[in-house]
């Protein structure tokens, strides 16, 4: 839930930096264009991550180093002591550029999810649903689809894809229906991005844009919920039709399938019933506290990062003697990626790059509430399909926040256009989102061919329907 919610602070950090940038001396156009080139190069490298055989953290880290060096050479960076709580502290310029609340949220939530998974809770839920489907492929598709959406909403879409995807591979193998694996994984991958729209904390773009726009948790859910419900049903029905996933017809087939899934033991991963129920209660509490963090006394000051770290630590107490094993399992690539991304965006702020892009978008925004918002949604989706949607969402949120007509109006369609576009654009290509990338990786792991073009060809009908539906929904029901 967490990884992604993370960037809520990215927004606040970038906004603070933006303010600083506005006060900085005029930056020559040539310098701004030079840094724009660096930003474009970074985005291209992220899009070609697979081809480069490089982790996100290494790519963005390299660009952060280059950006800082160039920023220093161009006298763009605000060197000097930083004031913290009335004290002047001498910090390297890239340290305050990082939003440590975001890093704390990612770290804490990763720990929390990893340790909670040890309780067997997630596998218990997943196997219960598998057994409830009685091994019927269509019911299994519906169960796994709904589970993907819910897990994406309350955990994060990558973890959701890992849990549901791995269960899918095992259960279809057991049912002797391996030929359906590709269809199942594809549909689940596409649903992770639909589920990521459900709440304010379901994905990083939601947090970034929602926080910047001032959309409350409840309002976000009320607006996004109906779309997610309809899009999920349509995606599942399309998937069943296009991938030939049908229900079992004869009584013998049903009896055989029921017997096969009955062999799953949901309690196998539950080492301690007490810890299992403790994990379940903590998960509910975690969601509740995160959702209400902004209004809880003291917690609102300590912020969500504190909540995530605290819950992670409480769960770790159970494994206090072997806590180091969980530290090893933390996604350090993701953490380093975020930290370096903050640094790059910080430098871009000082180089007036975001300001320049914002001016470029003024034309689209000027098309009006209908054409402009629709164009922003489609443009965001297209951009998200080939690169990371987090920097995109951060930049667009920043730019919209600078627009006098949009800023301060949480009901503006433009905010929702960015949210829907940034999330759903990930379904257009296998590199459009981390969760679809996980889906493709699982597909490859099981020896099934899924080159880039094939993914696009298979996913395009679903993605187009979801985007058309989203555009219509935003233009008709939002604002």
């Amino acid at each position: 839930m967490t990884l992604q919610m993370t960037s809520m602070s990215l927004i606040s950090a970038t906004s603070a930096l933006q303010d600083a940038a506005h006060q900085s001396p005029e930056v020559p156009l040539g310098v701004t264009l030079f840094f724009t080139g660096i930003l474009v190069a970074m985005i291209l490298c992220l899009a070609l991550e697979e081809k480069l055989h490089a982790k996100k953290s290494v790519i963005v880290g390299a660009f952060a180093m280059v950006s800082l060096l160039c920023g220093a050479a161009c006298h763009l960076l605000p060197f000097g002591p930083v004031e913290v709580g009335g004290h002047q502290i001498d910090l390297p310029v890239y340290i305050p550029a990082v939003d440590w609340n975001v890093i704390a949220i990612i770290l804490g939530s990763s720990l929390f999810v990893d340790v909670t998974a040890k309780s067997g809770l997630f596998t218990w839920v997943a196997i219960k649903l598998t057994k409830a489907s009685r091994g019927d492929p269509f019911k299994l598709l519906v169960s796994y689809g709904l589970m993907t959406v819910v897990f994406s909403a309350v955990l994060n879409n990558v973890t959701a894809m890992i849990i549901v995807g791995s269960l899918t591979a095992v259960s279809l193998e057991k049912l002797g229906r391996r030929e359906k694996l590709l269809g199942f994984l594809l549909i689940e991958g596409l649903l992770t991005n639909v589920g990521g729209l459900l709440t304010l904390i379901s994905s990083v773009p939601n947090i970034i844009v929602g926080t910047k726009a001032g959309i409350s948790f409840i309002d976000f859910f009320l607006v996004a919920g109906p779309y997610v419900a309809v899009a999920t049903v349509i995606t599942l029905l399309m998937g069943a039709k296009l991938m030939g996933i049908q229900g079992l017809r004869t009584a013998e087939e049903r009896a055989e399938a029921r017997e096969l899934v009955a062999g799953f033991d949901e309690n196998d991963g539950v080492e301690s019933p007490v810890f299992f129920w403790f994990g379940a209660c903590m998960l509910v509490a975690f969601i509740g506290v995160i959702a209400s963090a902004s209004v809880l006394p003291w917690i609102s000051d300590l912020k969500m990062g504190y909540v995530a770290l605290s819950f992670g630590l409480i769960m770790l107490l159970r494994f206090k003697a072997v806590a180091d094993k969980f530290y090893q399992a933390i996604d350090w690539d993701l953490l380093a990626f975020f930290a370096c991304l903050f640094v790059v965006i910080n430098v871009m702020e000082h180089a007036q790059v975001l300001h320049m892009i914002g001016q470029g978008l003024e034309g689209i925004i000027g098309l009006g509430d209908v054409l402009g918002a629709g164009s922003i949604l489609v443009t965001s989706a297209a951009a998200s399909s080939v690169t990371d949607n987090i920097p995109l969402a951060a930049m667009l949120a920043q730019i919209l926040g600078e627009n006098a007509m949009i800023a301060g109006d949480p009901d503006s369609r433009f905010w929702w256009s960015v949210i829907f576009g940034a999330n759903l654009g990930g379904n257009l290509t296998p590199i459009g989102s981390a969760s679809t990338l996980v889906a493709v990786t699982i597909i490859h792991k099981h020896g099934l061919p899924m080159p880039f073009v094939r993914f696009v060809r298979l996913a395009l009908p679903y993605a187009l329907v979801q985007l058309v539906l989203a555009t219509a929904y935003v233009l008709i029901f939002v604002g």
Binding site: I163, S166, L167, V170, G263, F264, A329, I442
Partner: protein, 283 residues
Amino acid sequence: MSKVDQFESAFRSASKAVYHLDPPEVRRVLLVTDLDSPEMQQLVDQLRQFLLVLDGAEWQRIGRGEFENVAELLELVERHKPDLVVTYRHLGSDAWKWPFSLGEYLDVLTQASGCPVLVLPHPTEGGAMDHALTDTNVVMAITDHLTGDDQLVNWSARFTARDGVLYLSHVENQNQFERLIETIGKIPSIDTDDARDTILAQLLKEPTDYIQSCKLVLDGSDLSLDVRAVVMIGRRLKEYKKLIEEHAVDMLVMNTKDEYQSAMHGLAYPLAVEIRSIPLLLL
């Protein structure tokens, strides 16, 4: 992608083999001996008492002079189409004096026959245990891969007398395990102690879970058996000999067919050669 593997492992572990009770029908029993009629009749009488579980089965006999070589014996067996062949070790051979084989007839018969072969202790060797050939109150199924082996359990249950004890045993090969751990000990990226504990736990967990499933089904059936689990790691021959003595086992049941080779299953042959004191049901 280590987490994908982590969750796949968790789900694979949760996917358990479920036992299905399907006791085999034994309607025709073929007794193959190299004895004369009076001795054979004596043996038949003893076997009828010993194999009360086959009450109602039709007994057919092949005795001295009816076959001269392995080919003729196989042809006779084929002609009778039995559900079970009963014979004894070193049939038609005096190699019983040396404990190094089952005899040329049995070596072939156990592999060529389409039905199970019940191998009795040699009638003149005198090495049978006191309780051997009296009843089948204690039957032990033995294998190094019990999980999912419904056939082995079904035959074992079929031969266990009513209210008898059925041991379902699984002994992991300690020598193989140690060799594996020794190799892991040379790989820096794998924690050797962790690998030893987790691999052994998983190796023993699977047959334990399967036996639990067998027990659940058999307890719910009308067979009235006391199903007990023996799951361990050890040097198998030594462990089985010990178990047979400890539990006064009346019959051992084991698989002998190996789809990857013509020779008898790797575990079955040494056990069949070495364990000469009780009847062995070779599937």
